[in-house]
């Protein structure tokens, strides 16, 4: 018997809105329809009304997990228009922030994947180990997320020498924890049985769908923007691209876990160089005064794959076109290749294996169709949440 199983657009298993319609025959998935657009925010249009400096803050808010990926790609696009030389110290700082973000994003995914599989211990561990990282992010940038470190021409804040030992200390403490977590995941017989051979993505499909990041690297495609199109300090320090051959959900997990160690290597290499380079505000910013007419492209290997920004300028102070392509926009469609033929019980982990980041791919507020008034904003949601808490307290009599 065939049936349609909708997942979403609002579903307790998903942290963000997305609609998947799984066509199933018995327990086997026969087709999948993906509907995006539940969270369209019009960022590209907003960008056209902001100055080049302001855009950096807007696009930092595209995503709450990989928040620095979009600014890194965007500032490079702006620099590409005029061929700006960024000071070396700023390049190292960009890489450090990018890699700190990658580790915390991968740990977040490991936790969620564990949760989807019913491994709540993995979920608790991974998120616990992520905490010191976020503290270091706050220590270096002033914020646990949305670091606001990037600006066209350089970075906004320096990492002074006296802050470096604490980062080393965090990394040293992080390694054994990661090793333990990696061992627990890579050697677990239940995970092997559950994930090996599930949701296999072939090399041909990677190419056809333009798959990116860990999704393609786990299928044996060694593509990594950091190595192929070196930018920031990725061409200046020693590290390796992690690949796996099988292309299944297990390999995707392994790639992410092993990548954390490479990220630590990159951060250490960058910190070593930072100690040698002269410090000071003039060494972190090329001080761009204007952006000439023209077009530029910037890309960055975000935790989920390549983030791609195209910016066009007509010589005034704001972009006339700003195209943003998040990695999930390419990776999401690979589920057409991976999920068909799988059992419905594996659907969630196969969908989760690409680490879909909806807030990047989606870009919608709730508006009244008649008056055009916004129905909910952040304050309303907090108010509703408070009301709900009060109602629960009353019910419990506390």
């Amino acid at each position: 018997m065939s049936a349609v199983v909708p997942i979403g657009p609002f579903h307790p298993l998903q942290e963000e809105p997305e609609l998947f319609r799984l066509h199933v025959d018995g327990e086997t998935v026969t087709d999948i329809e993906v509907e995006i657009g539940w969270n369209h925010r019009g960022i590209e249009k907003i960008s056209e009304g902001k100055t080049f400096d302001q855009v950096t803050y807007v696009i930092e808010r595209i995503c709450g997990i990989c928040s620095t990926s979009h600014p890194i790609a965007y500032v490079q696009a702006v620099e590409d228009i005029g061929g700006v030389e960024v000071p070396e110290r700023a390049l190292y700082i960009r890489s450090i922030i990018g890699e700190l973000e990658r580790i915390h994003s991968h740990l977040l995914w490991v936790g969620l994947a564990g949760h989807f599989l019913g491994y709540n211990t993995v979920f608790m561990w991974a998120w616990k180990y992520r905490e010191p990282l976020l503290d270091i992010c706050e220590f270096l940038t002033g914020n646990r997320n949305h670091y606001a470190m990037m600006k066209p021409g350089g970075v906004r804040r320096d990492i002074p020498a006296e802050k470096i030992p604490q980062v080393y200390k965090m990394l040293d403490e992080m390694v054994p924890k990661l090793q333990m977590l990696a061992g627990a995941i890579i050697d677990d017989p239940v995970l092997h049985a559950r994930l090996k051979g599930v949701g296999v993505l072939s090399k041909e499909d990677c190419r056809a769908y333009g798959a990116l990041g860990p999704t393609s690297r786990s299928s044996g495609v060694p593509g990594d923007i950091r190595r192929d199109h070196p930018y920031a300090a990725y061409g200046l320090v020693d590290w390796n691209v992690v690949t796996q051959e099988a292309g299944d959900a297990y390999s995707k997990g392994v790639v992410r876990v092993l990548e954390c160690f490479e990220s630590i290597k990159i951060i250490r290499g960058c910190l070593e160089r930072l100690k040698e380079l002269p410090e000071g505000p003039e060494y972190i910013d090329a001080k761009i005064t204007d952006v000439p007419p023209g077009e530029g492209i910037g890309h960055h290997e975000a935790p989920r794959g390549e983030t791609f920004h195209y910016v066009r300028s007509d010589g005034r102070n704001r972009p006339i076109r700003h195209k943003v392509r998040a990695p999930t926009f390419m990776n999401l469609w690979t589920c057409k290749a991976t999920i068909i033929g799988e059992s419905i019980t594996d659907a969630v982990i196969v969908l989760a294996a690409i680490d879909p980041c909806y807030c990047c791919t989606e870009r919608m507020g709730v508006f009244d169709a008649d008056s055009g008034k916004r129905l909910y904003d952040g304050r309303d949601l907090i108010r509703l949440s408070h009301e709900r808490t009060r109602a629960v307290r009353k019910e419990l009599g506390v």
Partner: protein, 155 residues
């Protein structure tokens, strides 16, 4: 770098009997302006080259018409090849390259939603980002007078 890629792209286009206006902006970026009628053939010739990856396409409205820029990445050569097509027609119509590059169909749907570009021979040019009750013929990324109509409320 760009020299190797430039040679590769030029000979592939020549073999397909195509001419193109090729500009090397810097060692990592090549721009190429083509006639819209050659689009599918050009995409086929470039996408058949080894090591190429379809990155994305950017559609935009310029002062005089509509433009689409298809970005192809040559990862092992650290170079991006950007194929530009332009039309003054309104409604703007281009050929869909999804028969050659499967991944392009989604970005073509996005450009159709946001800019009102039409793509010939597209397998299903449906809405992708905009809501079902978004009015027909209103495109958020187009310039000019803002839309002043009213949406019929559906519950």
């Amino acid at each position: 770098m760009s020299e190797a890629v430039k040679t590769k792209v030029e000979s592939a286009l020549k073999a397909a009997g195509l001419t193109a206006d090729l500009t090397v902006k810097n060692p990592r970026r090549i721009y190429l302006q083509i006639d819209p009628k050659d689009l599918v053939q050009t995409a086929r010739a470039i996408f058949a080259l080894p090591g190429v990856r379809f990155a994305i396409a950017s559609g935009m409205q310029t002062g005089t018409g509509f433009e689409v820029l298809y970005h192809f990445a040559f990862d092992s050569d650290n170079c991006l090849v950007n194929v530009r097509v332009f039309t003054e027609e309104d409604p703007p119509v281009f050929d869909s390259i999804s028969s050659v590059v499967l991944a392009a169909q989604y970005i073509e749907r996005e450009m159709h939603d946001l800019l009102g570009l039409q793509f010939r021979n597209h397998p299903g040019l449906e809405r992708i980002l905009l809501s079902e009750d978004w009015p027909e013929g209103v495109y958020p990324l187009r310039r000019g007078k803002p839309w002043e109509g009213k949406v019929e409320k559906r519950i």
